[in-house]
């Protein structure tokens, strides 16, 4: 449990209290992943400063989700270095990386459909509960206190995500937009410092995605979050992100502010083939 202590120390000294605002929370160097002969991601470099909101875009099959799977430890990188919150997390199992403060949502919603809304969020608190089965059996203090704390924090999160009145319903019975929100709430339960969002507004209509944008902005301030998001909705990405990284064929082809990306010829080429219009123009908006 020494690592857990180290994480807590790191949280209190560098991450949470924002002494150093430009603390580098994630640093990825020369990350590569091949499946058999196929190079899904190669030469991927990324640096995220604490509090940044960065978009990761690219055409289908560009390797965006693979990057998420590498960062969260689901795939073992073929080569490269991933440093998260000052720790080398390369090759660690996903649950350990989550303990260090990285949480994610999924492109296809992956809620625990059988479980209630409340229990879904409570699972997110998993690594923050510390009692054994013996404690639970004997209803020791450790169990009661820990469960009471989890219940209270879950209640707060559900209020924040306007899901409090659905707490007892099975997750799968929620409408689509609420399932997306619940996924983020569940990720927030893990107490992340870096939140990875895989297509958070996919399938949402314009007003739903506007609401989500407001919510994300609020989370970012209230929880001092750093966010990296994958999104195909270019308008959404341009509106919310401070910096955008464009991936194509597993490699970074461009990186910069939204304005720079809009006018980058390599990006236009990747999205539309030669002779297309700018991402800000008709071509990319057509995906909405």
């Amino acid at each position: 449990m020494g690592d857990k202590q180290a994480v807590e120390e790191a949280e209190s000294t560098s991450g949470r209290d924002r002494l150093k605002r430009d603390f580098e929370i994630l640093s990825v160097e020369k990350l590569a992943k091949s499946f058999g002969g196929l190079r899904a991601v190669s030469d991927f470099d990324l640096e995220l400063k604490a509090g940044e909101l960065v978009g990761l875009i690219g055409p289908n099959g560009a390797g965006k989700t693979t990057v998420f799977n590498l960062l969260t430890g689901f795939y073992k990188p073929t080569s490269g270095v991933i440093r998260f919150a000052g720790y080398d997390v390369h090759g660690m199992p996903p649950h350990r990386i989550t303990e260090y403060g990285m949480a994610r949502t999924f492109q296809n919603i992956r809620l625990f459909g059988d479980m209630t809304v409340e229990d879904n969020v409570k699972v997110g608190f998993h690594h923050r509960t510390c009692y054994g089965i013996a404690d639970a059996l004997l209803r020791r203090r450790a169990f009661r206190d820990s469960e009471a704390e989890v219940a209270q924090k879950t209640g707060e999160l559900l209020d924040l995500f306007s899901l409090a009145d659905k707490r007892g319903e099975p997750a799968r019975s929620l409408p689509y937009g609420e399932q997306r929100r619940l996924e983020i709430a569940r990720a927030m339960a893990a107490g992340p410092r870096l939140l990875l969002l895989d297509e958070p507004v996919a399938g949402m209509n314009r007003s739903e995605s506007r609401d989500l944008m407001a919510l994300l902005r609020r989370l970012r301030v209230e929880f001092d979050l750093t966010m990296l998001l994958i999104e195909h909705d270019i308008k959404f990405v341009m509106d919310i992100c401070e910096r955008i990284v464009v991936l194509d064929g597993g490699e970074i082809i461009a990186s910069g502010s939204p304005a720079e990306i809009c006018s980058n010829p390599a990006v236009i080429e990747a999205y539309l083939g030669s002779g297309g219009s700018t991402p800000g123009g008709g071509g990319m908006n057509a995906s909405r």
Binding site: T72, F74, P93, P94, H95, T98, E99, A103, R104, F106, R110, F112, G113, D114, M115, D119, K122, V123, G124, F125, H126, H127, R128, T129, Y131, I133, A136, L137, F143, S146, E147, V150, R186, A187, A189, A190
Partner: protein, 372 residues
């Protein structure tokens, strides 16, 4: 009516044992979709652990008397059995199942069958193939009385033995008077001349007592499992892993730990079933886990594999149906005599197949949409 209740009680106690064993199958299947065919052998090993513990710490070694001593001794034996089964299951999972977890279901199934055969034969090597009595007569609690209380012509309801020293060690039983026979004056005089002052009779382990023990053990386990799965962090992570093993990892759930604990708890409850199985039939041997294990697996499928309440229900149902077939198997229809007793299993499984035809996912099982 009495006969029916008697049979129902018998069926329920057999069913409770199936149910306790079925829980292990269904829990493990629930988290990693593995039919752990070695589970019956965990049950067998647990029964032996209980047996040896009972031999080492018999009721006569307990500081209490009578049924209290038996209870204490049985509790120690059960704790030993439960822990042994749990630790064995965790070790087997770690050594045999985890390395091939990603290799596919057929590989895992074959490994489970391999572990099962290994444990059976290992058991035969270590303790021999012949069956043993789980509880010897001498281990039963004793009711001590003075010899002077008996008069010639009394008819003792149970065998009366000579108590040589106090407290009596587990020496060979030396019979003083036989049950149901009038005490002869010369026998009494003979004992008195030998200087015998105290005698004792054995408090028998009746079928009724066994039934109560077994059914209350099941009830306790149901309560334990319900609270564990519903109200604890472990229960939530177990449900999460069961629903989406990959997704749960990203929520900070240590999947390997959840799987280990699931094996431990499933096998521990199966181990309790093993002790009760040995107690119920008062016999144990290295192959004793095979048939009850198979029936418990069937019970788990019947109840809906992956569902803990389903396994409990399936076990009880299978036990009762089997027993009622035996109890009411003889009947006459017109002039033809039917005897279904020997077809006990066939009839029980016909019921099973019928239920599964109507509800392929099992009684409490949920239809799981195949992910495309």
């Amino acid at each position: 009516m009495d006969f029916f209740l008697e049979q129902l009680g018998n069926g329920l106690s057999k069913g409770s044992i199936f149910a306790l064993i079925a829980v292990g199958y269904t829990m493990v299947y629930g988290v990693i979709r593995l039919i752990n065919f070695a589970h019956g052998e965990f049950v067998m090993v647990a029964a032996f652990a209980g047996y040896f513990c009972l031999g080492a710490l018999p009721p006569s070694a307990m500081p209490m008397q009578g049924y209290w001593a038996l209870g204490a001794s049985m509790a120690l034996a059960t704790a030993c059995a439960v822990l042994t089964a749990g630790v064995l299951a965790v070790a087997v999972e770690r050594a045999a199942y985890r390395p091939i977890r990603k290799a596919g279901r057929i590989a895992a199934l074959l490994t489970a069958i391999g572990v099962s055969l290994f444990l059976q034969n290992f058991g035969i090597q270590v303790v021999g193939a012949s069956d043993r009595a789980f509880m010897q007569e001498r281990q039963l609690p004793r009711r001590v009385s003075a010899l002077s209380l008996y008069k010639p012509g009394d008819i003792p309801p149970a065998d009366i033995y000579v108590l040589h020293e106090w407290p009596d060690a587990a020496t060979d039983l030396e019979i003083a008077f036989r049950a149901g026979e009038a005490i002869k004056p010369e026998d009494l005089a003979d004992l008195q001349s030998q200087g015998v002052h105290m005698v004792f009779s054995l408090c028998p382990m009746t079928d009724g007592l066994k039934r109560w023990i077994i059914i209350s053990a099941l009830a306790a386990c149901c309560l334990f499992l319900h609270c564990l799965v519903r109200y604890t962090a472990f229960g939530r992570s177990m449900r999460a892993v069961s629903y989406d093993i990959e997704g749960a990892q990203f929520m900070g759930v240590n999947v390997n730990r959840v799987i280990s604990l699931t094996f431990f708890i499933g096998a521990a409850i199966g181990g309790l079933g093993g002790v009760l199985l040995a107690l119920f039939y008062n016999t144990l041997d290295p192959l004793m886990g095979l048939i009850p294990g198979l029936k418990a697996f069937i019970a788990a499928v019947l109840g809906g594999i992956g569902s803990v309440p389903g396994a409990l229900l399936g076990g009880l149902l299978l036990g009762v149906v089997e027993d009622l077939v035996v109890a009411y198997g003889h009947f006459e229809l017109g002039s033809t005599k039917f005897n279904l007793t020997t077809y006990r299993d066939a009839v029980a499984y016909t019921v099973l197949i019928t239920i599964l035809l109507l509800r392929p996912q099992g009684i409490l099982g949920r239809e799981r949409a195949q992910k495309l």
